[in-house]
Amino acid sequence: MKTTILLCIAVSLVYTALVIAGDQGFVKEGTRRSMTLPAAAISLKEGPGKDTTSSYCRICHSLDYITTQQKFPKARWQAEITKMIKTYGAPISEENARIIADYISAHYGTGG
């Protein structure tokens, strides 16, 4: 019994020495390094097209890629969405691309 307890203590001490669990989601365990990234905490403003915009844009990036941009006219946002489709392969239909451009330029662009 006593031996088992001592063994348990020894094992847990060794384990503690091996696993240096940093705060903020970093774990160093033997030869392995792992981390857990904080969840994206941004949500878009309410309005028509919000859900379409969220669901498609979030396939590849967090929504702060939209909200941290400067204010641009709709034509510039359309060009950006076209780049997402043509260059990066985003599966967005023409109709959804229109909805997204309308939504973003109204809420995060210059509107026109």
Binding site: R33, P38, A41, C60, S62, D64, T68, Q70
Partner: protein, 396 residues
Amino acid sequence: MKSKGFSRRDFIKTVGITTALAATGTVPPLLYASERRFVTFPEKTELLLLTSSPPQLETPLKYFRELITPNEALFVRWHLSNIPTSVDLATWRLVVHGNVDTPISLSFDDLKKFEKVGYTAVIQCAGNGRSFFEPPLFGGQWLNGAMGNVTWGGVRLRDVLKSAGIKTGSLEVVFKGLDKAALPATPGFQKSLQLDKALEDDIIIAYEMNGQELPLLNGFPVRLVVPGWYATYWVKSLSDIEVTDKPSESFWMKTAYRIPDDPCGCVEPGTAPKKTVPINRMTTRSLLINPEDGSRLKSGQPIELMGVAFSGGYGIREVLVSIDGGMDWRPARLGKDLGRYSWIQWFYPWQPAKSGTYQVMVRATNSIGESQPLDGLWNPSGYLLNTIERHNLIVT
């Protein structure tokens, strides 16, 4: 401060500052910093959040008061959302293949058997300072915190390439990391160097930052270090090196990260360049770090202005400071010299005699005479920013 329907342009109009001045960095930080919040990511201290996935985190200016940027404070910038969140050195390998005599696969221990070399070098994102461009641009809206000065340790890329044996007729070396795109249709991140560049003495595969292992967010276990060049080439979590006998057709070389093919890397604001080349060496920069723009000082009280200056691998010969908006320029004292790739600290003692607003400007020149432009430099991707900054210090 920034609210719906109120753009930076409106702000500039409101306060009656010219667009030329806007490009210098005095106006936007107030706007953008107010929108930023601090976040704590794994192995990182509180940094300014630009985007969370792929992560882009910016270093607060206060860390640049030190000669060396701590690992936990160094900026973070990934391109693709599936970044490596777990790496086991027991199974990790770096492969060298393509136009070589013997393809090799190196474990972390194998890699460390090559001669260890190191130096201090500035790492800076190509788009550092993009938020100061006028007219504004799409892309990461960095202030000046996408940079840092780090002591790197690792092995020469050349030694690793030579151990695989480079075949004659080779043209380029292609570098890939462990990061992956969310969609198969998205071009995987990769960068290329011309073979002669790749064989330069100082290009290393780094496994140490300031004597420690790399944070996962900065590319654990190894990243490429191309000192003097922008960080886009410093491929993180490097895992694949391919020697090729033809030029890269990759999106990340042929379309992205390109600059106008002219001596300034710039064009008339709002216009498209006729011809572009891949971005490469960093421009010469100097920054005022302390006191920060907009600080209030007491007249008659002596203070010391300080900041940093660096260039794309040619050291810094001189830093000049003006406290009267560019009329009179005087040399600053330079701090400890850690070599041509490091930044150097500059110091300028000052005792403001009268109350008022003083416009402080700083200008660095490197050892081959490259300096900084007075007027806003502009290109369509928001790269190479090194316009002389204007900071207002208020003396009461």
